[in-house]
Structure formats: structure tokens, C-alpha cells
């Protein structure tokens, strides 16, 4: 029985030592090589917290073992001495129960407190680690965003430079065109002025010409009217004489017709008379 207890103690001691060595190893590990300055600090904190939690865990092995009992009665002596000692200690153990009990309660409370605290801290640590991972992810995203922003900014800058250059060229071109425009405007203005003067001269000449032509046409028209009137009068006159001739011819024809009719009538009368004479002479002969 004692051997078992001793063995158990030894095991506890070994575990504590191992856990402590692990904690130290963790603590002495290099910072996160991939992270930046902040990340390295965060990694150190995390490592430190883990070591501390490991250490607390190691302490808990002790409290877990001792929170509900007293230490076993052992003696490093031999022989009678050892037996005496063991006897004494076993008597003392029963006698000291009244105050060791409270100690055990206290040990239990401490053990439980530490254990709960460890669990809470572990959860906290996990949460912190998770948050840190999240932050790191976010930071990466932010860095990406920043990188994109930088790229965009560079492009914007390039575009701005380009736009500026182009704008400058446009401006220069515009100024050049405006200059040309001014020149052209001046030329057009001069030309239009010249044309205006020319048109005014032309209008004056045209007006004079129109007036002259108008007078000439009026004169021509008047002349034509007179000629036309004279021609009309001539034709009317000629018609009058022609119609008069026609009327006279008609009158002569009527007269000729009447004369002819009279001649025919007298010839018929004569013929009738002679026929009668002939008939009478025939009657007389009969």
C-alpha cells in the first residue's frame, strides 16, 4: 500500500516536471516568423499564457491528489525506528484529523477554484486565440484591401497623371484652336466686312441697273404697247376694209342672184308662152 502511494507521488512529480519542462520549452520557442511585429508579440503572449496554463495544470495534479486526503504515513527510517515513527504518525494522524479536515476542505476549494479558473482561462485563451485568428484574418483581409487600395491608388495616380497629361494636351490644343478661331474670326470678320462693302456696292450698282432696266423696260413696254396698239389698229383697219370688201362682194352676189333669178323667170315665162303658142298652133292644125 505504501508503495503504491509512493509510486503515485513519484508519478505526480514526474508529470509536474514534464509539464513544467514543456511549458518552458513553449516559452522559449521563437516568435511567429510569418507575423509582423504585433503578431510576434501576440504569439509570445499566447505562448506565455499557454505555459502558465500548463503550469497551473501541473499544480492541479498536486491539488487533485491531495484535496480530499492527507499525505500518507511514511518513514525513511528502518527498523524499530521506522515502526515507531510510523506508529506515531498514524496516531498523530487520527488526532490531527480535526484540523486537517479543514485543510482538506480548503485544498478542495482551492483545487476546484483553480480548476474552474483554468477551464475559464482555457476557454478564454481559446476565445482569445480564435479572436486573434479572426483579427489576423481580418488583418490579412485589411492588408489585402490596403494592397488593392494601394494598387488602385497607384492606378488612380497613373490615370490622374494620364488625365492631367491629356488635359494639358487638350488645353494646349484648345488654346491653339482658340487661337486659330480668333484668327479665323478676325479673317471672317474682315472678309464679311469686305463682302458687305462689296454687296453694298453691288446693291447700289444693281439698284442703278434695275432703275435703268426699269426705265428701259418701261420705255420698251411703252414702245411695244404703242406698236401693239398700232398693229391692232392696222389689223382692225385692215379687217374693216376686208369686211367691207366681203360685204360688197356679198351684196354683188345677192344682186347677181336676183338678176339671174329674174332672167331665169323671164326665160321660163318665155318658154311657157312659146309652149302655149305651140299648143295653140297644134290645135289649129288639128
Amino acid at each position: 500500500m505504501v508503495d503504491e502511494e509512493v509510486e503515485m507521488v513519484l508519478r505526480e512529480i514526474r508529470e509536474r516536471v514534464i509539464s513544467q519542462a514543456r511549458a518552458e520549452q513553449i516559452a522559449s520557442a521563437p516568435a511567429d516568423v510569418t507575423g509582423n511585429g504585433d503578431g510576434a508579440i501576440t504569439g509570445a503572449d499566447e505562448t506565455s499564457a499557454a505555459a502558465e496554463l500548463a503550469r497551473i495544470g501541473g499544480y492541479l495534479t498536486t491539488t487533485a491528489r491531495t484535496w480530499d486526503r492527507l499525505p500518507p504515513v511514511i518513514s525513511n527510517r528502518s527498523g524499530a525506528m521506522s515502526r515507531l515513527e510510523l506508529w506515531f504518525k498514524s496516531r498523530a494522524k487520527s488526532l490531527a484529523r480535526w484540523f486537517t479536515w479543514e485543510q482538506i476542505n480548503f485544498n478542495a476549494a482551492v483545487h476546484h477554484a483553480i480548476r474552474d479558473t483554468l477551464e475559464a482561462l482555457t476557454r478564454q485563451q481559446a476565445a482569445v486565440v480564435s479572436l486573434r485568428r479572426d483579427v489576423e484574418t481580418r488583418q490579412t483581409e485589411i492588408e489585402n484591401v490596403v494592397a488593392r487600395l494601394v494598387t488602385l491608388n497607384a492606378r488612380v495616380d497613373a490615370l490622374a497623371v494620364e488625365v492631367r497629361t491629356e488635359s494639358e494636351a487638350r488645353r494646349a490644343d484648345h488654346q491653339s484652336q482658340r487661337g486659330e478661331l480668333y484668327t479665323m474670326r478676325a479673317e471672317i470678320s474682315g472678309e464679311s466686312e469686305a463682302r458687305r462693302i462689296q454687296i453694298e456696292d453691288s446693291e447700289k450698282r444693281l439698284a442703278t441697273l434695275v432703275e435703268i432696266q426699269g426705265r428701259k423696260q418701261t420705255a420698251d413696254l411703252s414702245k411695244l404697247t404703242n406698236e401693239s396698239r398700232e398693229r391692232d389698229e392696222e389689223i382692225e383697219n385692215e379687217q374693216r376694209v376686208s369686211f367691207k370688201q366681203l360685204s360688197l362682194e356679198n351684196s354683188e352676189a345677192v344682186s347677181f342672184q336676183i338678176t339671174s333669178q329674174h332672167k331665169i323667170e323671164s326665160a321660163l315665162s318665155e318658154l311657157e308662152r312659146r309652149i302655149k303658142q305651140l299648143e295653140e298652133s297644134l290645135k289649129h292644125r288639128k
Partner: protein
């Protein structure tokens, strides 16, 4: 005196009027009318006559014999002129397809219409003539044989007609116009004679033509055969026996006494009266229009009327530069001046001249109207005649 009129159209129209009503009997001697008179003497009065190639109407005189006169010509202007000159009907057609039914005419006449036809075409034309000619009808032609001899032409007529008679003509008698025409003149004409003829005045030329026409008439009447000139022949052809060559139906009374006396409802119109004599002071009537007679310096009209109350006429000046140089006109009756005035404007003037009481009853009803002009001018005609005024519509009111 009343004067109506104004400016005139300046024209020089040589448009001879051939209307039978305007024919002067004296013109029967004019050599220019010799062929017309030959046809006149060979056409039966009252018959139907077809004139091929009628031109302006050279046979219009036949109307005096009361024939039904029909013309055919290819030229629309000639068709119009022939109608105007009194043809009863004129058609625009060619000689190879006459627009008449068979046996329509008693006489078919042509004056120079066959000259330019070749032998084959002449045969076609003769066949067409024979078709429209009534049985026993006579065809009369004046031809110039430019392409072939007289014998060839006669033999062609004999292919279509049983009887053909012809006489060469115009070897001796030619008009002034023919003498002066280079195309007509042969090389034998004496140069000094031609120069003389060229120098004749209008009146002298007319006298020459009338003398030539008189000789032609006498030669024809006496049956004297002229030597063949190789140019012109007169030809008669018929299926019936042919009578006298020159005067088969001669009756010239109609030439002297026209039925047209000029009597109108308002009095007497002298223009077309067959009983009125226009002396040689007048030129032949022309179509101005209207039909009017031009005169030179002096012209007379003799007429018969029981009395004359007034004389009216239409007058137009045919002179240039009238406003600067007005023409003075004097009108007289039986030697007494009726009116004198100046014409300074162009246009027809209508004159009505009252006759004084003492002149109204002339000696035995015979009157002589005389018109004088104080200046003349050479007209733009071939004969460059001297003219002053033209007159028409001469009316005598009594």
C-alpha cells in the same frame, strides 16, 4: 370728205389676183395669159374641169364660162391661193392618186405639171388622168420637153388616147420675163436686143408682152405652125375625135361682158364690175389684203351710171417716209377736181367724196374717175414698178 385711217403696214406684196372677176379683157393679149386663153377657148362652157398642178390658180378665168373648176396641187400654199382665186374645190394630192372617182371630169388640164416627171411617172399620171376623164373627154397640156423629144411625148399619149394633137409654141413669142430669164434664154439671142428689153419700163414691158400675145393669138388663129423650139408644146388628147386645136369651144363674150355688173344694194361697186374699165394707170389687183389695185402717178376708171351722188373708196399709201414726205392725192370726176388732200400716215383711209350737183348727171351717164398722186416710188418687186397708192372698195352712190 370723210377720212378714216391711220398708220399702215409697210409691205410690198406681189401677190397677183387671178380671180375671174378681176380679169381685164385686154389681158387676153398678154403673152403671160396665152396658155390660159388657149384653155379658155377649148373648154366647153358649164363643163367640169380638173386642173392638175393648179398653183395659185392660173385657170381661174375659166369661171367666166361657168365651168366647175377643180384644182389639185401638192403645195398647201397653192391650194389656199387657188381657193382664194375662185376655184370651186382644190385638193392637196399628187398626180398618181387623184382623189376622184372614175369619169368625173370633161377636161383635165395641166400647165407645166408634167415637165419634171420621168417617163414612167408620166405614164402613171396619164393612166390616172384617163381614169378620171369622162368618155370622150379632152385633156389639154402645156409642156416643156426638157428630157425627151416631142415625138416621144406624143407616142406616150398615144398609148392612152386614140387621138392626140400638138403644136410647138413659144419659139417666136416670148414674154419679157422669158427673154430675161437666163434659164430660158438660148445663146442665139442678140445681146443688144436683151439689153434693150432689160431697159424697158413697166408699161413698155406690158406693151411688149401684149404685142407678143397679139402675134401669138394671130399666129394661132391663122393656123400658122411655128418651128419646133425643142422646148414647149401645146397638146390635146382624147378618145373622141379632136376638133379645132385652138378654138374648139371659142366663145369670148364672157371675157367682155361679165355677169358681174358690180351692182349692190347701196349703189355700184367698181372693183369687180365687168362693165368698168380700169386704164393702164392701174396695175393688176394684188392681195394686200384685201384685194386692191395699185397705181402709179395717175390712173382712171371709166364707168356708166345714171347719176353719181357720192364716191367712196378705201385708200392706202404704199410709199416710204410718209411722215416726212406726205403724198398729195387729187381726185377728179370728168375732168373736175372733187378733192385734194395729203396722206401723211400709214393705214387704210376711208374716203367719202360728195359729188357736186353740176357733175351728178354726166354726159350720157358716162363717167371717168381720175386719181392723181404727186409722187411715186419703186416697189420692191421683180419689175421695180412705180407705185404710189392702192385703192379698193370703190363705190358709187346715186
Amino acid at each position: 370728205m370723210e377720212v378714216n385711217g391711220n398708220s399702215a403696214r409697210r409691205q410690198n406684196v406681189w401677190d397677183e389676183v387671178l380671180d375671174a372677176r378681176y380679169f381685164k379683157a385686154l389681158d387676153r393679149f398678154d403673152i403671160r395669159f396665152a396658155r390660159t386663153i388657149w384653155v379658155f377657148d377649148n373648154v366647153r362652157a358649164g363643163s367640169a374641169v380638173l386642173h392638175l398642178g393648179c398653183g395659185p390658180g392660173m385657170l381661174a378665168l375659166l369661171k367666166r364660162k361657168r365651168v366647175t373648176l377643180t384644182g389639185v396641187d401638192a403645195s398647201p400654199d397653192s391650194v389656199l391661193a387657188a381657193r382664194r382665186n375662185g376655184y370651186d374645190a382644190v385638193f392637196q394630192a399628187d398626180l398618181f392618186s387623184l382623189p376622184f372617182t372614175d369619169a368625173t371630169f370633161d377636161h383635165v388640164v395641166s400647165l407645166d405639171a408634167l415637165n419634171e416627171l420621168m417617163a414612167a411617172d408620166q405614164e402613171r399620171a396619164l393612166a390616172e388622168m384617163k381614169r378620171v376623164l369622162r368618155p370622150g373627154g379632152v385633156t389639154l397640156h402645156a409642156m416643156e420637153s426638157r428630157h425627151e423629144s416631142d415625138t416621144q411625148q406624143i407616142s406616150r399619149f398615144l398609148e392612152f388616147f386614140q387621138h392626140v394633137a400638138y403644136e410647138p409654141r413659144y419659139a417666136l413669142c416670148s414674154s419679157v420675163e422669158d427673154f430675161l430669164d437666163p434659164a430660158e434664154r438660148d445663146g442665139s439671142s442678140e445681146a443688144d436686143f436683151l439689153e434693150y428689153v432689160r431697159g424697158l419700163s413697166q408699161k413698155e414691158r406690158r406693151a411688149f408682152d401684149i404685142a407678143m400675145g397679139y402675134v401669138f393669138s394671130r399666129v394661132s388663129d391663122l393656123g400658122v405652125t411655128e418651128p419646133s423650139s425643142g422646148k414647149s408644146i401645146l397638146l390635146k388628147a382624147s378618145d373622141a375625135p379632136i376638133g379645132s386645136f385652138y378654138h374648139e369651144h371659142r366663145d369670148r363674150r364672157a371675157l367682155f361682158a361679165s355677169d358681174w355688173t358690180g351692182t349692190t344694194r347701196d349703189g355700184l361697186c367698181l372693183d369687180r364690175s365687168g362693165e368698168v374699165v380700169f386704164d393702164d394707170g392701174w396695175y393688176e389687183p394684188t392681195m394686200l389684203p384685201p384685194v386692191a389695185r395699185s397705181m402709179g402717178k395717175q390712173a382712171r376708171i371709166r364707168f356708166h351710171s345714171s347719176a353719181v351722188d357720192s364716191i367712196s373708196l378705201d385708200l392706202i399709201a404704199r410709199l416710204s417716209d410718209l411722215e416726212a414726205m406726205p403724198v398729195g392725192i387729187e381726185v377728179g370726176l370728168n375732168g373736175e377736181r372733187l378733192a385734194a388732200f395729203s396722206v401723211y400716215k400709214y393705214g387704210w383711209l376711208e374716203l367719202t367724196i360728195p359729188v357736186a350737183e353740176k357733175l351728178r348727171a354726166g354726159s350720157n351717164g358716162e363717167f371717168e374717175l381720175e386719181i392723181k398722186a404727186d409722187r411715186t416710188e419703186k416697189a420692191a418687186t421683180a419689175d421695180a414698178r412705180e407705185i404710189s397708192i392702192a385703192v379698193c372698195n370703190i363705190q358709187i352712190r346715186s
